[in-house]
């Protein structure tokens, strides 16, 4: 009687437990430790590194806030939007607690850590050819070096990690600021090693949007130039190396003279996959709601449709009068790069350099502009700057003249006879800096150019000579030597105030 009922109950009670009941794996995602199995897995993870670069919080289009809007080229007059935080960059009133600053810092390190994951696991996979593996390694090292190069220039001493972080304890150990020199050593190491791969010389020989030896050389050259210009020790050697790598990049070009490529063609969407000037770019897809560029529509001011068919309602990307006044008369680049919005509710200059008002982009402004990270005018002017430092003034001027010629401007030798030009740009160095400003305006080069060419005190002096009325609502008088570097984001500093010491003045 008893057993008749008891037995089924007990059986029922015991029948449910299986051994792995408590060990549940995420059915939607691959564990990092299980991911790397085939060559294709590595390829997709390397694609992921390029994907990181697309973000406006790293160095993609829309990352203007962290470069150009810090400089004297652009900047917002609106001190209200988003609690006035973006305004702080231009206003030199940047606080360590600025959330945009932290977002940038975090996104850059997230990208670096993704590179570290790939490099830490690439040996798990057996490759059909060592060359292929070498390429992927080179690409990962290039992206890592590029991100560190941006960071070290903006923040100075920064934490350096080249391994995958798997525990919070490990993260705490790595979270201390290393001297700029140490970071630069790692950048040079990565780039030099990347050069030893069998990557093609140009992206067109590989895949547009991926790196190439020309791109690696260009960055490595710029690294040495920056070191030479900003570090007193070993500057001669650094300039020599800069010349070596920038020349190597220059030699990899597939055109003769720069004037073969009209300025407007550099930004011409229909040429973006074949334009010989482009060395490395982040690609966007016209008309695609997920992968299109929005730079053309975002930069456009109300009342105009030159950038995009999108009907803008704001002021667009505001250009400082200070830059407008820096264009020489007859400079072909001016009318292409900037425009005055006549709409009574705007009444100001905006950036018109990035245009896609095609039907394919449409009234949604789904543009196809690629975001150019390296192009030959940049490489040539960097090389000119290097040669100037090495005392090779004639070679520097030759390069400078190529850029000026394309812009429809007289040669340096002619221009320097012009009183206004000579007053404004009394040295070859000043002339190159000026040329870079107008040639590469809005391409996120200006802030780096300024901090490479001026030490902190010179930087302050340079800004203070400017006319406030040409500068908009941001206050020039706020600048001080502290502004050479961004502050370490407050949250990061707070984790360890000793080892993550704050930059002076913040």
């Amino acid at each position: 009687m008893k057993k008749r009922y008891l037995l089924p109950l007990v059986l029922f009670a015991l029948s449910s437990c299986s051994k792995d009941f408590l060990n549940q794996k995420d059915p939607n995602a691959i564990q990092i430790e299980d991911y790397f199995k085939s060559e294709n897995d590595v390829l997709l993870a390397v694609n992921g590194l390029y994907q990181t670069l697309r973000s406006g919080s790293t160095i993609g289009e829309g990352s203007t806030l962290y470069n150009e809007e810090r400089s004297d080229n652009t900047g917002r007059n609106d001190n209200q939007s988003n609690a006035g935080e973006p305004f702080q960059f231009n206003d030199f009133s940047l606080l360590p607690s600025n959330t945009y600053l932290k977002t940038h810092w975090a996104a850059m390190y997230a990208g670096i850590s993704r590179c570290n994951v790939v490099l830490s696991h690439i040996n798990d996979v057996t490759f059909s050819s060592e060359e292929l593996k070498g390429r992927y390694v080179a690409e990962a090292k290039f992206v890592r070096a590029l991100l560190y190069f941006h960071m070290v220039r903006k923040f100075g001493d920064i934490p350096l990690s080249t391994v995958q972080v798997t525990t919070k304890e490990q993260a705490n150990e790595l979270a201390f600021r290393q001297k700029e020199a140490v970071v630069y050593e790692q950048i040079i190491k990565d780039l030099t090693e990347a050069l030893s791969s069998n990557l093609p010389n140009t992206q067109k020989e590989y895949v547009v949007g991926r790196t190439s030896k020309a791109a690696i050389n260009a960055i490595l050259g710029q690294v040495y130039l920056t070191l030479g210009a900003t570090q007193t020790a070993g500057s001669a050697g650094n300039f020599a190396k800069a010349e070596q790598y920038l020349s190597a990049a220059y030699q990899m070009r597939t055109f003769g003279k720069l004037s073969e490529i009209p300025y407007t063609e550099v930004f011409d969407l229909t040429k973006k996959n074949i334009c010989k000037e482009l060395v490395f770019q982040i690609q966007y897809k016209q008309g695609d709601q997920n992968f299109s560029s929005s730079i053309a529509r975002n930069y456009q001011a109300k009342g105009d449709t030159i950038n995009s068919k999108y009907p803008s309602t704001g002021v667009g990307e505001v250009v400082k009068l200070d830059l407008i006044k820096d264009y020489e008369p007859q400079d072909l680049r001016k009318d292409f790069s900037v425009k005055f919005a006549k709409d009574p509710q705007v009444n100001d200059w905006y950036v018109s350099k990035f245009r896609d008002n095609s039907d394919a982009a449409g009234t949604n402004g789904w543009g196809g502009n690629d975001w150019i990270l390296i192009r030959y005018a940049d490489v040539m002017l960097l090389l000119a700057e290097t040669k100037y430092h090495l005392g090779k003034e004639a070679e520097a001027i030759a390069l400078l003249d190529q850029v000026r010629e394309r812009a429809g401007l007289p040669s340096y030798a002619t221009s320097i006879l012009n009183n206004e030009y000579r007053t404004k740009y009394p040295t070859v160095k000043a002339a190159i800096l000026h040329e870079r400003r107008v040639e590469l305006a809005f391409e996120n080069q200006r802030w780096f150019d300024l901090i490479r060419n001026y030490n902190p005190q010179e930087l302050v002096t340079y800004f203070k000579t400017k006319n406030q009325a040409d500068y908009g609502n941001a206050k020039i008088s706020n600048i001080s030597t502290k502004d050479r570097y961004y502050p370490i984001p407050f949250d990061e500093y707070k984790l360890d105030p000793q080892r993550m010491y704050q930059n002076p003045g913040y």
Binding site: Y5, L9, S16, C17, F21, L22, Q24, K25, I30, Q31, I32, Y35, A45, N47, G48, Y50, Q51, R54, N77, D78, N79, Q80, A83, G84, Q88, S93, S97, W105, M108, Y109, A110, I112, V117, P159, V165, Q170, A171, L174, V208, G209, Q283, Y284, K285, D288, Q289, F291, Y310, P311, T313, P344, N347, T363, N364, Q468, N473, D491, E492, K494, L495, M500
Partner: protein, 1083 residues
């Protein structure tokens, strides 16, 4: 049949009226000793009011024979005079009474509510007598609930000491928030665990309030520890009604009424708004000119927009729409409209509920069946909810040793919802900031759309919400959910006192959510039907599929030794697994609004996308062993101990298992010989003490192993390529958060049980806190969910419950009950983690601080010293972050460190979001057939950050503002009320983009949550209608709230943005005041 039904009717009335400790004196029996011994004996069972009790069990204690009373309460049993009869019936105290007469003797049963004896309460897996309780358990019976409330949880508001039930939203589909004894966690959820008839069932509580028999809330950790790792937020045990032996009953109840906006917010009218707009623009123009070194003179006010923009740019800050300003004279133009947007958006919304239940049974089988339908329109246009409920609870005694049963319930709800939050998705917020100068309708009667956004698109610095009426009526937002709970059990008595119970069940939840944003809604600054509005149109279709399986085996042992030693022991095992399967897709490319489903998307395949956050499978499992022993001696001394071991799939491989012990004891002093009624005649006194440990595993699954993100896209070689990126760093050592709590309690029964007091003192400490700990970005993440070692959060407090019967006469009763909870929260140790700063409002800046030595989530910012005057504005410390120099009329802040500038270092705690105390009380009275009950709740001393004020109180004139903005500073001659700072569209020293105590408000309130008047029709009338009983009643929910708070509802939602940012009111659906009439008919 009629008569029998009458009995039940009166029984129901008796139960309903007995909530305030009804204990009428027993009717005196007329003892007649002269009658001859007869066989059989006839008698009658009645309740205290003299109404018949049918179905009562009458046992001759000598012969052990038993019979049941009939519809009139009459019974007949073989017995002799002098024999003792035992009479028992559910809901009444057992009665033992000797037979004094062979015919017509009355056996009067006393209802057992609110007596310390015999009432049983659920303690999880077992029930015990209330008098045996050693922990802190709050019990609420169905009669005490406000059942006209559309939601069960709303019915609980203010009823239970130490349990804060908050009405945070008036949306028909939103529930309330429940917090038991403060916040112990900083990152993990703090919701209690809900257990319905023994089934731990998540917190989707669309249960029919009419099905509830009782609710028991395990407040202290010792009581809750039997639920182990899920119990740190307390446990709410819900028991539904079951069939009773006796006749079959049918109840039908209908309730109908309407709801309305419980409070209207005072905002500026059209004239005042235009004045603000002009004032703000001119002030901004002045500030910007002065900053550029251009001198200001008053004639600049006549500058037209073009001149203004030419001088300083910033069109949005300095230009004024021509229709509002006469530039030639510098004066305001009159507005054509003066719209009250709240009047337009809110309506009187009808409500109806039908409930039919039938229950009954015999010795072998018992049943309870119910069905209900509820249709509630929201007070906001376009919102409503329909709910269908069905329940069947069956018990069957298969044999002497085996009982089986099943609980089946099913709920279907169909909601039309609105979004909340920022003004562009929250119609309630949009209705407040929408300009009063704009009309609701066009002349043709259609909604006037895009008017405010049009001003925005023209750079006039105006916010751009769409007409909220157009928004709520055109946007589709529908959710349909099906919740089923299917539970069966078998209880087998192995030997006397030892039972094996197997409980197995399935809980399912299926949901379909459809959203459609049509092309007829403006998209920010773009017109309805513009290409951008067409692009912005989208449809979401989301499905949720959840299946939860439970298997539970328990062994129960109950035994009394030597009369006085009573032991009850429990041993159990349970395994529970929940599978989540969610999908979400979004469709774009809509060219018409005719269909509004994902199927009508544009042809391009890229118009379909997977919503990553809404598409996943997850499994969570929990395996547990538990045991409890209760021992009591002579009903005087009580001892109880429990232990539970839980293993959870949510945690890292090294930390899967946790153990949660508890121990508690009680001493009923009043049963001691030495007690001798020193607190009064028939007084009772009991002391309790407990300690226990409970856990919190309220975190998402799979947070202990790092994974790759879902693939993203990158363009390489002009083609979309798939890209994999490594995801955030997860902690392989992730484990429980643990709460350890001491509780000491006192139960007092005074004045013959007419005054009952239950007091509890508790001290709880949570440690190993789960926290999104900031981590260096070198890890690839900025935070990691981890346990903070050595971290401790303390809650200590008192909760006190008092129930008093002031008057108890046969025709008139008056009772009062009240409760109060004082809780003090404090972070003792953050385990080496530094101070936690969080932002809790629509602001990128920080609003809350959590630091050692103070409560979680204190408001953090600047202290306002006053409004700067012509005399002092050059001498008080200016603010570092502001681009505009301090002017008269700006707020100025305390410069704590005295360095002459107000910056981050001068921020400090400026307010406490936690109340000094919360309380509730109720009055109930009955006069003859009429009864009246009024319930109140309140909170005292907490501050609220009004999230609306980012728009409603910024003096910018970019949208409408609170009415007291008219009292702002204008000039030295016209300084306003001395509190509200000057108008300016641009950044001023005092702007709303930082938190100062200017933006904190007193959140104290006292609310009448419900008042209900009922009338039970005399039996004679009911009988004429062939019914057993009729009750009619009228109720008002939330009739009034006394509070200084300017917004809709001072009761903020703690859940909205997590525990670290309490006390923020942000864009929610306003509360409803509702009026209802109901009729309940018993057949």
């Amino acid at each position: 049949m009629k008569i029998k039904a009458n009995n039940v009717f009166w029984l129901l009335c008796a139960i309903a009226a007995s909530s305030s400790a009804v204990q009428a004196k027993p009717l005196t029996l007329t003892n007649s000793q002269f009658l001859l011994v007869q066989n059989p004996v006839r008698g009658r069972v009645v309740d205290a009011q003299g109404h018949a009790v049918s179905g009562a069990t009458i046992q001759n204690l000598k012969s052990k024979k038993s019979v049941q009373s009939d519809e009139k309460g009459n019974f007949q049993i073989d017995a002799e005079i002098g024999d003792s009869l035992g009479v028992s019936y559910v809901g009444f105290s057992n009665l033992v009474q000797p037979i004094a007469q062979s015919n017509g003797q009355l056996f009067v049963l006393q209802t057992n509510e609110n007596t310390l004896e015999e009432v049983t309460i659920s303690i999880g897996y077992q029930k015990i007598r209330k008098s045996d309780v050693t922990g802190a358990i709050a019990s609420v019976k169905a009669e005490e609930l406000n059942l006209s409330a559309p939601k069960l949880s709303q019915a609980l508001v203010g009823k239970v000491a130490g349990v804060q039930v908050m009405q945070t939203s008036g949306a028909p589909y939103d529930g309330t928030k429940i917090r038991v004894r403060g916040m112990g966690s900083i990152n993990a959820g703090s919701d209690p665990l809900y257990v319905i008839d023994g089934y731990p069932a998540g917190n989707n509580l669309n249960i029919n309030p009419n099905d509830i028999e009782s609710i028991d809330i395990l407040k202290d950790a010792a009581s809750a520890a039997i639920y182990g790792s899920r119990a740190a937020g307390g446990v709410v045990l819900i028991t539904t009604k079951r069939g009773k032996e006796g006749k079959n009953n049918v109840d039908y109840e209908v309730l109908g009424g309407f709801g309305q906006l419980s409070k209207k917010i005072d905002v500026l009218n059209a004239e005042q708004f235009i004045d603000l707009l002009i004032d703000g623009r001119n002030n901004s123009y002045k500030d910007l000119l002065v900053a550029k070194g251009i001198t200001w003179n008053d004639s600049r006010r006549y500058d037209d927009n073009k001149t203004r923009i030419g001088n300083v740019g910033n069109a949005g800050s300095v230009s004024i729409p021509e229709e509002y300003y006469d530039f030639a004279t510098g004066t305001a133009k009159q507005s054509k409209y003066d719209t009250d947007w709240q009047d337009a958006l809110y309506r009187n919304a009808p409500f109806q509920r039908h409930n039919l239940s039938t229950y009954g049974g015999n010795e072998k089988n018992r049943y309870f069946l119910s069905g209900s339908y509820q249709n509630q329109q929201g007070i906001m246009l376009g919102t409503d909810q329909k709910v269908f409920n069905f329940r069947a609870n069956i018990d069957s005694k298969v044999s002497k040793r085996l009982t089986v049963g099943a609980n089946v319930s099913f709920t279907y709800n169909d909601n039309n919802e609105v979004t909340t939050g920022r003004y562009d998705r929250s119609p309630s917020m949009a209705a407040l900031i929408y300009l009063p100068t704009l009309p609701v309708y066009n002349e043709d009667g259609s909604y006037a759309q895009y008017l405010m956004a049009g001003l925005s698109a023209n750079n006039y610095g105006i916010q751009n919400p769409e007409n909220p009426l157009a928004y709520v009526t055109q946007v589709k937002n529908n959710r349909r959910g099906k919740k089923g709970l299917y539970n069966a059990f078998a209880d087998f008595s192995i030997i006397d006192g030892l039972n094996l119970k197997v409980n197995g069940g399935l809980s399912t939840y299926d949901e379909k959510y459809d959203y459609f944003r049509p092309t007829s809604i403006s998209d920010g600054n773009n017109k309805p039907y513009s290409p951008q509005a067409i692009t912005a149109a989208y449809a979401d279709a989301k499905t949720k599929n959840e299946v939860d399986k439970l298997l539970e085996t328990t062994l129960n042992y109950n035994k009394t030794f030597g009369e006085k030693h009573q032991i009850s022991a429990l041993l159990g095992y349970s395994a529970q697994r929940t599978d989540f399967d969610y999908q979400g897709v979004r469709a774009n490319g809509f060219n018409s609004n005719a269909i509004g489903e994902i199927t009508d998307k544009g042809a391009d395949p890229s118009n379909f996308q997977l919503l990553k956050d809404d598409t996943f499978k997850r499994i969570t499992t929990l395996q547990s062993y538990f045991s409890r022993v209760n021992y009591s001696f002579d009903s005087k001394y009580f001892l109880s101990a429990s232990i539970r071991t839980d293993g959870s799939s949510r945690f890292g491989p090294n930390n899967k298992w946790g153990t949660f012990p508890s121990i508690s004891g009680g001493w009923t002093i009043s049963k001691e010989d030495f007690y001798t009624d020193w607190l009064g005649q028939q007084s009772t006194l009991k002391l309790r003490a407990s300690w226990g440990r409970s856990g919190n595993n309220n975190i998402r699954e799979y947070r202990s192993v790092s994974v790759f993100n879902s693939p993203a896209g990158v363009i390489l070689g002009d083609k979309v390529s798939t890209a994999y990126t490594a995801g955030d760093l997860y902690d392989p050592n992730l484990s429980w958060e643990t709460t350890s709590q001491y509780n000491a309690g006192l139960d007092l029964g005074l004045l013959k049980g007419r005054l009952n007091v239950m007091a509890n003192f508790y001290l709880s400490r949570s440690f190993n806190l789960l926290f999104d700990q900031p981590i260096s970005a070198v890890s690839g993440s900025t935070t990691i969910l981890t346990n903070l070692p050595d971290s401790k959060v303390q809650n200590k407090g008192v909760d006190l419950q008092v129930d008093a019967t002031l008057i108890r006469k046969s025709d008139f009763e008056l009772g009062i009950s009240g409760n109060i909870n004082v809780n003090r929260n404090k972070v003792l140790d953050l385990g080496g983690s530094s101070t936690i700063l969080t932002n809790g409002a629509e602001r990128s800046y920080l609003t809350h601080i959590t630091q050692e030595g103070s409560p979680i989530g204190m408001f953090y910012g600047f202290k306002v010293l006053g409004v700067a005057t012509e005399d002092n504005y050059k001498t008080v410390a200016p603010s570092a972050a502001s681009s505009t120099p301090l002017q008269p009329g700006d707020l100025y802040f305390e410069d704590v460190d005295g360095n002459g500038i107000v910056n981050d270092a001068d921020k400090r705690v400026i307010g406490n979001p936690h109340p000094n105390f919360t309380y509730g009380f109720a009055l109930s009275t009955r006069y003859k057939e009429f009864d009246l009950r009024a319930s109140f709740n309140g909170s005292q001393g907490n501050k609220v950050l009004d999230g609306y004020d980012y728009y409603l109180y910024n003096m910018e004139g970019s949208g409408n503002q609170y009415a007291d903005v008219a009292q702002r500073y204008r000039s030295a001659q016209n300084p306003g009320n001395g509190k509200v700072y000057r108008a300016s569209r641009g950044g001023t020293q005092s702007n709303s983009t930082r938190l100062s105590d200017f933006y904190l408000q007193d959140g104290s309130f006292l609310r009448m949550t419900n008042i209900a008047l009922g009338y039970n029709m005399p039996k004679s009338i009911a009988e004429k209608l062939s019914l057993s009983g009729i009750r009619v009643y009228a109720t008002v929910d939330n009739p009034f709230t006394i509070s200084k708070y300017k917004g809709y509802n001072p009761e903020p939602d703690y859940n909205q943005r997590g525990n670290l940012t309490p006390g923020v009111d942000y864009g929610l659906y306003p509360l409803v005041r509702s009026y209802n009439l109901g009729v309940k008919v018993t057949f």
